[in-house]
Amino acid sequence: MRNDTPALVKRITALSLITILLIGFFLAFKEMPKGSAVNVNQRVSRLYVMKNVETATKMMENGKFFAKGIKPLRTDVPYTPITFGKSKNLEDGAANVVTSIVVDYRGFDTLGEVTVLFLAATGVAMLLFGKEKKRKNKTEPSLIMYVGTRISFAIIFLFGIYIFVHGHLTPGGGFPGGAVIASGILGLFLGKNGYKPNHLGLKVFESLSGMAFVIIGLTGLFSVHSFLANFLPTGVIGDLYSAGFIGLIYIAIGMKVGAELSAVVNSMIVDVEEEWS
């Protein structure tokens, strides 16, 4: 596409490209099993649901499990049904299966994800922070706004902490909890002109939380057998103090994401020389 191509030609080209893409996708869909036929019982992720991956791995090493093709789990792997509030000493005690995958089985993945978020936040801060903050032509928020954001900040902060502490029991976890806390801090920005959080403090807090994650992982390496292995008892499924180290890691992630997103918000509320209009 040249610079002087008419807009209509561009649009038609884009539409035809998208049509070709969609036709390709639908041809791929025809090969997929239909919604009612998709069965988790024939997929590997059922082992995550049944919290029995270790046994399956051992059987796979012995050539028993996957060698004969995938079969119903009852006949291949010894399995006792999980009852909420009663089952003890499971392989992974989190009631939320998605959490147990994200933090426990694929914890290394989450460490990479946190690193990516850290890099993004650092990049934003590097590009934007340190400019002089000029805020012309802005009305001072009223007293109601000021007091209201202060009061609601406390409630929002508490709610964020609730979300990431209960990450292994309810839908939620460190990332949504951190985002909730950052939204509370955004409210503080709206409540008062020239509000400045302690940027250095945020950075230090964030680094300490990230280090806590790595230290928990290293503890697993030295005390059990592998990096980010669970070294705490898993307890009864459904209790608050269960699921081993998932609670600790989610607290670390929640504080890290909260501090990181607050730093991003702080950097992004920079008014550039007022030529926006």
């Binding site: 610079n3 884009a14 239909k34 009612s36 988790v40 019982n41 998605v98 978020l117 590009l127």
Partner: protein, 127 residues
């Protein structure tokens, strides 16, 4: 009625996800404003996430969380939705947020340097 039900159960989420993907791609390809391009990329990302959660789902699925009334395994068979794509989407959402923030920051920098967000004008200003 039966055909409509089968259609809704099997195809509606996949078609919706691909429609969102197509809308985002169209926005990205046809707009010249950098901000709108970033918005288009975000819409593409939403379509991809919806697609991944849709292939994890089946019509009789329950949520993959053990609660007092929610049984994930009935008679030795798993009845929940597939939790693995859902966890991948959880990762993808967070990374999408980070990349969007970085892209917007770079857009702010471009606006500071060239005084415009139009891709063509930036290209002309370079010469």
């Amino acid at each position: 009625m039966q055909a409509l039900q089968i259609f809704l159960q099997n195809w509606i989420y996949l078609i919706g996800a691909m429609a969102i993907f197509g809308i985002g791609l169209y926005i990205t390809l046809t707009n010249e404003n950098i901000f709108k391009i970033i918005v288009g990329l975000d819409i593409i990302e939403s379509g991809t996430n919806l697609f991944m959660t849709a292939i994890a789902w089946h019509p009789k699925a329950v949520m993959p969380i053990y609660t007092a009334t929610n049984q994930l395994v009935v008679n030795g068979k798993v009845v929940s939705a597939d939790p693995l794509p859902q966890s991948l989407v959880l990762t993808a959402i967070v990374i999408g947020l980070g990349t969007t923030a970085l892209a917007l920051t770079i857009a702010v920098k471009i606006f500071e340097k060239y005084g415009t967000l139009d891709v063509r004008k930036i290209k002309e200003a370079k010469r």
